[in-house]
Subunit: 147 residues, 2 copies
DNA sequence: ACGCTTATTGTAAGAAGTTGCAATAAGACA
DNA sequence: TGTCTTATTGCAACTTCTTACAATAAGCGT
């Protein structure tokens, strides 16, 4: 598990323990091309660590998010998916076909600044997910006369 | 229930039925000063409509959101709260003390336009919730040396 | 390497949210 | 008003997520 050396110092230095469970979850996130639900993480992590509990996966995901190693992204109806933390970006999701598109943080950074100035809040570096219709679905919806 | 006359035409004209359950839920949202979880909506709606099911409340809230009569807002860990639809605004929430602040849509409308131009997506008029530290908590955190 | 401390895990029970299907009642028409 | 159609509800089983507490094992000091 090559991820260990990568993350272990970061965790240990803060007084947290590096457990096989955490490494297994981290490994799954680290090598997934797409965002995963807790259930999916659990299934995949079980492959390398049989006996791993769903409860632990939930707790571990929370833990990773709280320590900046993973991102938690709420989907349309509040269902959560997780991805390994990386260069900051956001997602647009098509309500119709489910297509997902990454957008760079630079496109929204001015808005963050504006909000911070207006509110006095210090915003945390969250991932943002916005919903809409992708170009493809806009066309087909228009053809069908759907709103 | 004064809300009936307000919403009934909007629903009926689209072929939906105006049921006592929907009116009860709508009434609760309409007269609440704060956003409510499904459980809270259920408790309050039961007061005026005993026997109302939690299942129905969940379904009704989804229905109202889908028809633009209510907004669904995901909190920190994906828990959902609902509020009656109204003039468009967004929320900043303090991770530390839970304080909530409304911000006008005008502050983020340029970002929406920028994203739409860059992506080709047609974004839906969603409520946005961002997290951070309120001015008060920034001060106290700094005193305590917390990050 | 061995034992100690306590963060972390597993277990089990519970809360929250979802789904399929039969029963109910809203709205339309006579 | 009474009857018909079917959208909507309630019920019950189910999945997903959360919590309390005792058992385990990570990391420290010897």
């Amino acid at each position: 598990m090559t991820c260990g050396s990568e993350f272990a110092p970061h965790l240990r230095s803060r007084g947290f323990r590096v457990t096989t469970q955490r490494l297994a979850v981290l490994h799954v996130l680290r090598h997934s091309t797409k965002r995963l639900s807790p259930g999916q993480v659990w299934q995949q992590a079980c492959l390398s660590l049989p006996g791993l509990t769903e409860t632990t996966v939930y707790r571990t995901l929370d833990f990773l998010v709280e320590n900046g190693l993973a991102w938690r992204i709420p989907l349309d109806k509040g269902h959560l998916v997780y991805e390994i933390a990386g260069p900051r970006h956001h997602h647009l999701i098509c309500r119709n076909c489910g297509d997902e598109m990454q957008v760079d943080h630079s496109l929204v950074s001015r808005m963050y600044a504006k909000l911070e100035a207006a509110s006095g809040y210090q915003l945390s570096g969250d991932h943002m997910t916005l919903f809409g219709l992708c170009p493809e679905c806009q066309k087909s919806k228009r053809l069908k006369g759907v709103t």
